[in-house]
């Protein structure tokens, strides 16, 4: 079994938004919405700052509250990949998942279903990397199987300090940030 995840290097990322715009195109994201987005956090006082830039998206959690709260079984964890997905046709657009997600990763597609990052499962099934990881000019976005021992993701995380977002929410996020 695989557990797909991302390891995103905040040192390499410049916050250029290539990931965001390629995602618009790859996934026909409706106007006014984003499946991934950039967060820039700068702290400190002139001229001594700390800055961190992150490309954020659905964390494809191990314990996904969005899936637990879904009343109609539309949100699910894909067998064999751990990817959190939505059966569009089953979704009623009730927004319970949106309220449950601590990362604000979901939105209601104007076509009437909950929408979010899929790790580009359609590409991955074709042997391609997700669109954002493919285009990222700084190669900040690394995608792969977190359960594969000795993988490049493990190596990256072994060599650097790592964090995930809101670990205290207990969701078990699968997107990690290298600091």
């Amino acid at each position: 079994m695989a557990r797909y995840g991302m390891v995103i290097d905040t040192h390499r990322c410049v916050g250029c938004h290539s990931c965001v715009i390629s995602c618009f195109m790859e996934n026909s994201v409706p106007e006014g919405y984003k499946r991934d987005w950039i967060v820039e956090v700068v702290s400190g006082e002139f001229p001594n700052f700390r800055s961190e830039i992150r490309s954020e998206r659905c964390n494809h959690c191990d314990n996904p509250p969005c899936v637990f709260v879904c009343p109609c079984g539309a949100s699910y964890v894909e067998e064999g990949t751990g990817t959190v997905l939505v059966h569009n046709e089953k979704c009623t657009g009730c927004k319970a998942c949106i309220a449950a997600c601590p990362y604000d990763a979901r939105f209601i597609n104007p076509a009437g279903f909950a929408d979010k990052c899929t790790f580009c499962d359609h590409r991955v099934k074709d042997g391609l990397l997700p669109g954002c990881a493919t285009t990222c000019p700084t190669k900040a976005i690394n995608f792969g199987d977190l359960d594969q021992p000795g993988s490049h993701l493990h190596k990256l995380m072994h060599d650097r300090s790592v964090k995930s977002l809101k670990p205290s929410a207990g969701t078990g996020p699968n997107v990690y940030y290298l600091l």
């Binding site: 250029c16 618009f24 002139f46 042997g127 285009t135 993988s151 990256l156």
Partner: protein, 732 residues
Amino acid sequence: MTNGINRRQFIRLAGFGAAGAGLAYSGLNPWGLSAHADLTHTGSGVREIPTFCELCFWKCGVIAKVKDGRIIKLEGHPGHPLSNGRLCPRGNGGTGLTYDKDRLRQPLIRAKKRGEDVFREVTWDDALDHIAEKMIYIRDEWSADCFALFNHGYGATFIKHLIKAYGSHSIAAPSYAQCRGPREVGFDLTFGEEVLSPERTDIVNTRMLVLIGSHLGENMHNTQVQEFADAISNGAKLVVVDPRHSVAAGKADWYLPIKPATDIALLLAWMNVIINEDLYDKEYVDKYTVGFEQLVQHVKSYSPEKVWTITGIKPELIRRTAREMGHQKPAVLIHPGRHVTWYGDDTQRSRAIAILNALLGSWGRKGGFFYPGELDVPKPETPPYPKPSFDRVDLQIKNYPLAYNTLASGLCDATFPAPQTNCQLKAWFVYGTNLVHSLPKPQQTMEAMQHLKFLVVSDVLPMEIVGWADVVLPDATYLERYDDLHVGRFREPFVALRQPVIEPMYDTRPPWWVAKELAKRLNLDSYFPWDNIEQYLDNRLATVGLKLSDLKRDGVKVFPRQPLYFEDGIQPEFFTNSGKIELYSSSLAAHGYDPIPVYTEHGEPPQGYYRLLFGRAPVHTFGRTTNNPVLNRVIDSNEVWVNRRVAEEWSLENGGDVILKNQDGVESSPVRIKVTERIRSDCVYMVHGFGHKAKRLTNKKGANDSDLITRYNTDPIMGGTGMNVNFVTFVT
């Protein structure tokens, strides 16, 4: 392997997801990379067509995915040395240009007074006949040189050829005197060669990168940013000198928040430390340079203590960073920047950067500046261009002895009647540059246009300049046309093809066709000895043993790498007066300029005013893209960065709007306020290119910094227009 995921790993990984996933890779694409499907893949009705980008001027390789005649996605070409399979945000959003509903759709001829922006639609024949008639009239009545071409972008290649064939040499792009010209002159005076574009900076191999005002990461020249990230991962030391805490500054080991307009003093202080502490590359300096003794004397007075009082950078920080340069040499890159027309002494600042690089021995060395590959792909032979009747129309009002390229600002000046003008410009052809935004003093540009007998504008969008035209030619976008081959010089030389991935929309035409059609009407057919562009391209490619069909399939052909550095076989040769690297410039001395750069004070902002600085957002290429509906989903407006204490003084609230007023009383449109610690209190900052006013453009958000640039300092050496000399206050 790229992205840390290699092909073998990935197949194994993907094998869990779907049966047969490995099949997608059974046919390796020509580059053997994993992130892309085979280019010939036609499953699901998607065609993948290679071409190269024009959202900026870097010319990255692109793979366009086309389904049912519509472009659904653009990806980086994996085999193209400038994209390496990746695109910047603008490249990703390139379809936003082609499918912009505001596009010019048909040729237009002015129906009312010039500048009133009222037109009637005409046929291409009407438009071209009219232009040809005016071109003949102007040549007969005055001189072909009185017909100027302003251009920007690769589409202009054949238009430039046409204008030269017609007999005019009054051809300029604002990318010279308004952008990187001083850098090229400064480096040429020092090393006898220019920096070029793409820059010959060996960022990926550097051990120390020094950025002076250069905001890589916000300035998204793809390959440079790719290498910038690699350099950071490799542990290269990073120094960022900028009055604003840029994205790059956020990654720096040392951030030097310099007082604007004092960079030359800092550069001289670094030289002072490096020489005093014997940190320079002695062997290199002895072997390749002249003027070291004069330089030693010259920098003596620029002690870190003295320069602290000028720049605000503490002496220990100046020393610490200088010592690190000495320690890491020769793999140290003092980056020459790109948009360098700041204060009017920009050639001298570029010289100072070049000299510091020379002291560290980084020119021609790994991790410094490499020698780009050479490739000759001859064009078909055509008759020689007619000799100009006037020498350098752009230098009539004022001569700049080392202006190697034509000055766009000089051509604008030569459009006004003046006693010393022998060839007052009578007509302009403007291709792909919105001069009202790209030249300083927009009011002056508009006045100049009122003096013209004739003005043609070719563009994709109804920019401000279009409203002033007599004839408007709707350009096909880069995704709809062939252009000339791009013969690229990077680490490897390469030749790349731009080809239409869809048919031109509306009644638009590619510029090669426009040029050839005009040539026909001007009896200049002999300059276009081909029936159609495909024949031209095929013939030209044949000179290097290629066929058009090869490039239509592959998009690019990369030629073998040649030696890049002195250490791998480049024979050092410097095309300067002395044949050596000139720390002391004999050429500048001969022309009466400082042979070694001198720091001179620039005016301070008056009480209550702040120096206006401008730069770029990663998602936009100045005003060219600020109407792009795809890119505007991310950033559709600019904001003015104001230091927190200044904001408190003026009671400015973060997120509120404010009108800026410059020293000449010119006011901006309202612009959103960004209250931040990340900028000094003596300046404000805006992203350039927003605040359009053209009536047929949808996005008019933000403020136009160009409106506020009513003054500039001209570089006495090469005529560049230093634009960071305007001061603004807040209208409350």
